[in-house]
Symmetry: C2
């Protein structure tokens, strides 16, 4: 095969970063992971490949079209398209070895064969946490989740943001009150488009599926309640919808909103938004979306919610839970476009050693000592003039260069150059570690 | 579909760990990563899915059979089966944005549809480092690699180990001297089996491919040179093989052995072993294998070598390099079987808060303060008696429990229980952070 015939580009829809951007990406990933662990979540690592029937047991039509599915030997297998279904399988399989509530995180790649377009990835990282109960799970957990979101986005420092909260029982209760429960899936899908297509279009679409005008009006009276969290809760009570679900929804929402405060999340970071429906139909209570205030076009950067039963397709035991997911690959790409992420120095080394002498004894003695003291160090071994070696130092943007020449060897010293300030000073070989500690 | 019809087990050959074992696995992975970074390697993250033609450009027959290959849309794609070929593609694609020598690490899962058997995995982590030069790369890098291996296995503390070193030019030179170059691939594959099948069988197999007895004797005279590194080098010189490659092999091996000492690797951790051939045919010089002295049955835990040209299938530019790979999943499984890895506490929390009061204000105040000070904390929110809550604490093996009851609330204190010693003491709510700092 001719060399030029093989493309070395990644497949379309697959992100691959330069070391400069990879460092920036990994920094964000590490901060998310550190926060997850600070809140007591533990990591699991499920396989990328699953039995197709496991993944498809819960999937809808759209997912089935997008899934990477193939035969290997006699097995019908597929690549995971989220981390929730593998969690469900994991919980059922490892039930006896887990402690409940099971607080797990997983940060891993998932696969969806979406139409290739800007900002859409076929391979992308999801950063997930879930708190899964055995048969039951206290509502207070729904108030803890926003405090994790708050900690992460405070730490990431992408400007102000709002965590939007709703409860699925409200719209479900309202639709039941209007005798529209049988159409609730379709109605929710239409409402979910409100942000994108606007009120007129949504009303039209609702009419198309034969919803009467009075019901549409009542739905909008509900959706358009807007104001402070206290105001929204009061107005919801004033709607006097008789349905039990609706009343439970109000109670749960009020309790979550009140409890979130106890987790030290400032009031203005939490906003009830009754128009949040969340496409996925397994949510049954609280739902969340998170929006960066200055970049609304990015959409929700962290979404999730409460589900009554995680593993209903695999087990008769009930596993209620609440969780969120951050789609990190897409988020990174959008933050980069918005100028919110900068490239980082493409090295992990704090020190680069450049030697102008042939005998490597002293340069390597210095390198060994620094590394033994956990100071990341590399040595430029290649032949060439000092200028070429310093060019490499500049290119990798290493913070310090240690220069070793005949003079230095004779005086048992090295020259340390601070690459940011340009300052140089002589340091005794035996003091080098102290210099960097 | 009936619930019982769906298996929740991972596919055969796919490792999935309990949180207890996952922590142990992640600890090893983190130590490897930290060492890679200490030696100045930077991380890249290539896609799991590649164009099939990219992966198959370099693969041999065995790999082609094992590869996970499938169609997605009009694309013929496959899952990577190692991290070296993706590195080659990455270097060619990102050439202008990289600094050379390019020191990269990648720790990621790869896929091989091997026959499912104990200790063989179809999805497994490889931990790779490579130093890749642009057109040339100094031989001193071949001596730095063993110092990375040494640091890692010292740090991992699995007992004593030996890094075995050889140079492919020796056997290639010998075979050329014996006019057997055209059969060198077959001969190397047979020699590679020496450890498993023994000398008799290898001699028989060599006869089967028509190697004459004199040549077989000369090959074994070479393979069986054994002793101190100095002795082996002297004996190699005494063989007086006229071939240039052979003489270069001696010079390189001698230089690498001498330089490794300068990297502070003690003599008894490095051993020349002329029988190491390494199955893969892209190695052209130094080759490494690493053996845990007390567990020879595990085989090589870290292997690699020098190659003249990484990306010859994708580029006319020459990228020589040297690198190693640790097959972490298999290693972990075998270390576990050998009793060298213990399960870890299945929590990241340092503190579990158990409250016996309904009002969550004080418990959450304590949790918020601990988390703000990066002390990993979780709160047991579920209903139940103290005994049930303490059972959860025992099960996750959390180091400290903070108990909060009416008494504590009244005195603005909490009770801190050290779960290892069983000791309890009262600490003022305002002093809790100091207690754990």
């Amino acid at each position: 095969m001719n060399k030029k015939e093989i493309s070395t580009k990644p497949l379309p829809g697959f992100m691959e970063l330069t070391p400069q951007n990879q460092k920036a990406f990994d920094n964000i990933k590490d901060k998310i992971q550190t926060t997850f662990e600070k809140f007591g979540f533990v990591s699991i690592d499920t396989p990328t490949i699953e039995r197709a029937e496991v993944l498809l047991a819960k999937a809808g039509g759209e997912t089935e079209k997008q899934i990477y599915q193939f035969k290997k030997g006699d097995k019908d297998v597929a690549l995971r398209f989220d981390l929730t279904i593998p969690l469900a399988r994991y919980v059922v399989e490892n039930f006896k070895k887990l402690s409940f509530p099971f607080r797990r995180y997983q940060i891993a790649k998932v696969y969806r064969g979406e139409k290739s377009q800007k900002g859409r990835y076929r391979e992308f990282y999801q950063c997930d946490i879930d708190i899964v109960g055995d048969e039951k799970l206290s509502l207070i957990n729904d108030a803890e989740i926003p405090s994790v979101i708050y900690s992460i986005f405070k730490e990431l420092n992408f400007g102000s943001f709002v965590i939007k909260i709703n409860n699925r029982k409200l719209i479900n209760g309202l639709l039941s009150d209007l005798n529209l429960s049988d159409k609730s899936v379709e109605i929710l899908r239409i409402i979910d488009k409100l942000d994108k297509v606007g009120k007129e279009k949504v009303m039209e679409m609702l009419k198309e599926i034969s919803i009467d005008e009075t019901s549409i009006e009542k739905i909008f009276n509900f959706l358009e309640i807007n104001g402070s969290n206290e105001y929204v809760l009061t107005e919801l009570k004033n709607l006097s919808v008789g349905d039990n679900d609706f009343q439970n929804g109000i109670d749960e929402l009020e309790e979550v909103i009140n409890n979130v405060k106890l987790f030290n999340v400032p009031d203005d970071y939490i906003k009830i938004d009754l128009s949040i429906a969340r496409g996925l139909d397994y949510y049954t209570g609280t739902v969340y979306e998170t929006v960066l205030t200055d970049y609304p076009e990015i959409g929700s950067v962290c979404s999730g919610g409460r589900y009554d039963d995680l593993a209903q397709k695999y087990s008769d035991r009930k596993f209620p839970g609440v969780g969120i997911s951050i789609g990190l690959t897409r988020l990174f790409s959008q933050l980069k476009d918005a100028g919110l992420v900068e490239e980082e120095s493409p090295t992990n080394s704090k020190v680069l050693i450049i030697s102008m002498v042939d005998d490597l004894k002293i340069p390597l003695k210095v390198a060994n000592t620094l590394r033994q003291n956990s100071i990341a160090t590399e040595i430029y071994f290649e032949e060439g003039k000092v200028a070429k070696k310093m060019k490499y130092a500049d290119k990798i943007a290493v913070p310090f260069v240690i220069l070793i020449g005949e003079d230095e060897i004779n005086s048992n010293e090295v020259t340390v150059k601070n690459m940011e300030t340009g300052e140089q000073e002589k340091v005794s070989v035996d003091d080098v570690v102290n210099y960097f500690s």
